[in-house]
């Protein structure tokens, strides 16, 4: 299934800067079995879906949406200024079009007119300004704050919203497609984060945190070729076996997070289709590059050669993914370096690097919990098994899933983690690899890399930009502090009554979180 790539190539600089049209990129090539089920979308039916996430502490506050469950239903309830199309290009949503200044530091968004909230109120530029401001500033507790931090000013000018940035960023419109940055109704320059209102495809009927959400179709939705279901009935079923049972017994139509241990058995169940989607989601083992022995690049290289990536893809992902190459850029992304040599399991090379570092053997502790990603502990165990052949003794420490992100990630020197992937190379590198970034989990500080990152961000020449990103990927792979063994697919399953679009969004799970408005009943 690793061939299911979604090349996002083909977005031209002009298109990006001026643009708002879906650009013709090749989409997902789906297996024939899936394609057969496809027909023209039609209206009707209530979609029943069971999701692996969801928590009794979930809330409606856009600052806190932390799981696919809340993200997906709020994406159905609300809209953002821009939308990432299934093929990875950027298209218009609440903004009709946009234009950048020459240095890409000032962006003007023309806001769509005549859009109404579910409450009947007409959406205005003031709502847009207030909604974005909610995530900014000293008081903000928003998880999206680091994305909007470069914004120095937002103001409404007629039907436009003008956003000034502290520096040029050619990818800025991509950021506004982030699911946190939805537009909500405002009063006196402030939004009410507890509102149930929105402009989206579905109206929220009931929301019981950690249990279910019920929604019905918004009759006034501004997109006419979307929102085919009459209603949505989404359930949170945390237990993987219970989720599969719900699908098999016909109590739901779609599930996400298919248990890979039993996926081959699920595929055999009648009337059920397993749908893997290759995304930019990748599983990582970051090392703290400030600390010994990880401050020595030879040690890092030895650890990178000591892991059997193919075995992990086969055993942990059951083939639903592809081997990673120690940099976070997915093979479907615009500036993916196609010429970089793929690292493979090579105990001799690992030994060689250990020797270079002046060591015969190396003993390290690797902290893991399945909170990092499903199968993290097993991955660590397999890693330890294989690395032993190179004289690397990895002691696996199973940490509690509870509180993993506070107590282990970025605290223990070598641990398991994951990244959901970011729509642009710049965002991914800025968030997790630039020196001093809050989520730089390897505490990596590489002068050349940092320099390239800043210049690539505002570089307008596509070829030059590509060259820079390619070099950054090579630096990251050979000198970085993160072992990236695999890119994982999102594996969903659905009943054959459900119609699935030909091209499926890869930027997030659930068709880029937009399954509710893009899928239909066949």
């Amino acid at each position: 299934m690793s061939k299911l790539n979604s090349p996002m190539g083909g977005i031209s600089r002009r298109g990006l800067l001026k643009g708002a049209t879906a650009l013709g990129a090749a989409g997902l090539i789906l297996p024939a079995s899936v394609r057969k089920a496809m027909a023209e979308p039609k209206r009707g039916g209530v979609l029943r879906i069971a999701l692996a996430s969801g928590n009794t502490t979930d809330s409606l506050d856009p600052a806190t949406w932390d799981s696919t469950f809340v993200q997906s239903f709020n994406t159905a309830r609300c809209n953002t200024l821009t939308e990432i199309a299934p093929d990875g290009s950027l298209v218009a949503e609440l903004a009709e079009s946009w234009e950048a200044s020459a240095d890409a530091a000032t962006w003007t968004f023309k806001i769509r007119e005549g859009v109404t909230f579910h409450s009947g109120k007409t959406m205005t530029t003031d709502d847009v300004v207030a909604s974005l401001n909610y995530h900014r500033g000293e008081e903000s507790k928003s998880a999206a704050k680091p994305y909007v931090d470069p914004i120095t000013d937002i103001k409404a000018e007629g039907s436009n919203v003008v956003i000034s940035l502290s520096g040029g960023n050619a990818d800025f419109p991509f950021i506004l497609a982030d699911y946190h940055l939805v537009v909500l109704p405002s009063a006196e320059g402030k939004i009410d984060p507890t509102t149930t209102d929105g402009t989206g495809a579905y109206v929220l009927d009931s929301f019981e945190p950690g249990v279910s959400v019920k929604m019905s179709r918004n009759p006034n939705y501004f997109k006419t070729d979307r929102a085919w279901f009459d209603g949505i009935d989404a359930l949170s079923i945390v237990d993987a076996a219970a989720r599969q049972n719900a699908l098999i017994t016909g109590e739901v139509d779609v599930i996400d997070g298919v248990d890979l241990n039993t996926v081959s058995l699920l595929e055999r169940a009648p009337g059920i289709k397993v749908l893997p989607v290759t995304g930019n989601q990748h599983f990582v083992f970051p090392m703290d590059t400030r600390l010994s022995p990880y401050d020595n690049n030879n040690v890092r290289q030895a650890l990178k050669y000591g892991i059997d990536r193919d075995e992990l893809v086969e055993k942990i992902l059951r083939g639903f993914g592809s081997a990673g190459n120690d940099h976070p850029i997915g093979s479907g992304q615009r500036y993916f370096n196609t010429e970089l040599e793929q690292k493979t399991y090579d105990p001799d090379k690992a030994k060689f690097h250990l020797k270079e570092a002046g060591m015969d053997t190396l003993t390290v502790q690797l902290s893991a919990a399945d909170a990092a990603f499903a199968g993290a502990v097993d991955s660590a165990v397999l890693y330890a098994e294989r690395a032993a052949a190179a004289g690397i003794n990895i002691e696996v420490v199973r940490e509690p899933s509870d509180g993993y992100w506070d107590n282990v990630w970025m605290k223990k020197p070598f641990c398991a983690s994951y990244w959901g992937g970011r729509p642009t190379e710049d965002l991914m590198f800025s968030v997790a690899y630039s020196a001093g970034a809050p989520w730089n989990d390897s505490f990596w500080d590489h002068a050349r890399f940092n320099e390239l990152l800043v210049s690539a961000r505002s570089e307008l020449d596509d070829d030059k930009r590509r060259e820079m990103y390619w070099e950054m990927q090579a630096i990251c792979a050979n000198e970085g502090g993160v072992v990236i063994p695999m890119f994982a697919s999102y594996v969903n399953a659905h009943s054959d009554k459900v119609g699935v679009p030909e091209v499926i969004g890869t930027n997030q799970g659930l068709d880029g979180l937009r399954l509710y408005e893009r899928w239909w009943f066949a």
Partner: protein, 317 residues
């Protein structure tokens, strides 16, 4: 009888004190847990600034004792506050879930208690027979399997064939009959989990008495064995049996989170585990106190019944 009333009042008073102590323990434990709600919710995307802003908004920047006493004064006036995570009043969050939890516990108990008493008495009566051994082996096998595993087996056997639903979705409009049907599998799972313990204790407590002189006497008088057990042995064996039943009833209310997860049953256990994971302290406190109160009351009932069953305890010198 007055000694029993005195005991009840004394124990109720002590029960309140217990609840107070538990609220302190739970509060300290959640304080000792690394991380807080702001970090838990922001998870991987936390930055020091957003965590600080979040904490300030939630009042988590106040000193611990101050937060505890704020909560305590609210609770004493019947106001358990709102969930820190989603700002909903805790009373609303808990009301339906408490109802669901009690319904399932009562349902399971209504099957399990008579079943295990009957099986226990029969096993004691026909001790060492094939019936005794088989009942024992079956009951023991069923509790050797983890709950979720029992649940999976029942789903495989009874739900995939379409006899019973594999999910237990409840809403306020569900009729009692429908609710009993939908909740059958979780209730059966719980029954299998608790029956063995109560049954074996019943059997053991009765057999323990069978060699006593007064039983010997009764038997020598030629009373039939069933009557000996029901009339002579059982009343004196009641104390440990009641204790074990109370323990298991408490377990049915407080310990069923795994069954809730597998059958997607919205009960208190899931709420508690989620709230602990997210450090949503007011919710943890409220649920913990409900669990504790249930336990204290059941325990008190057990002790009162045990005392009533043994006249010597009532007239203790």
């Amino acid at each position: 009888m007055s000694i029993v009333w005195e005991m009840i009042f004394k124990r109720l008073g002590l029960g309140l004190l217990t609840l107070l102590v538990i609220s302190v323990i739970i509060f300290s434990a959640t304080e000792l847990l690394p991380g807080d709600l702001a970090q838990a919710i922001l998870g991987q995307s936390a930055t020091p600034e957003t965590v600080a802003a979040f904490r300030k908004e939630l009042g988590l920047d106040l000193p611990a004792y101050q937060r505890y006493f704020n909560w305590l004064f609210g609770a004493l006036q019947g106001d358990f506050g709102t969930s820190l995570a989603n700002k909903r009043p805790i009373a609303d969050l808990i009301a339906t879930r408490l109802g669901n939890t009690l319904f399932l516990a009562l349902y399971a108990a209504a099957i399990a208690v008579p079943l295990s008493l009957t099986l226990g008495i029969l096993a004691a009566l026909y001790r060492n027979s094939i019936f005794d051994r088989a009942a024992n082996a079956l009951a023991l096998t069923s509790i050797s399997f983890p709950e979720f595993f029992v649940a999976y087996i029942l789903i495989f056997v009874l739900a995939q064939s379409g006899l019973f639903p594999s999910m237990t979705r409840m809403d306020p409009n569900t009729s009692l009959g429908e609710a009993l049907y939908r909740a059958f599998l979780p209730a059966l799972t719980l029954t299998l989990v608790v029956t063995a313990h109560m049954m074996r204790m019943t059997r053991a407590a009765i057999i323990n008495l069978l060699a006593s002189p007064y039983i010997e006497m009764a038997r020598l008088k030629g009373i039939n064995p069933m009557r000996v057990i029901l009339k002579h042995a059982l009343p004196n064996a009641l104390a440990p049996i009641i204790t074990v039943i109370a323990l298991n009833l408490a377990y049915l209310i407080t310990g069923v989170v795994v069954v809730e997860v597998v059958f997607v049953y919205p009960g208190l256990g899931q709420l508690m585990v989620d709230s602990v994971a997210k450090r949503d302290f007011p919710v943890v406190q409220a649920v913990a106190l409900i669990f504790a109160a249930a336990y204290v009351l059941l325990n008190l009932t057990a002790d009162v019944l045990s005392t009533l069953s043994n006249p010597r305890l009532i007239h203790r010198k």
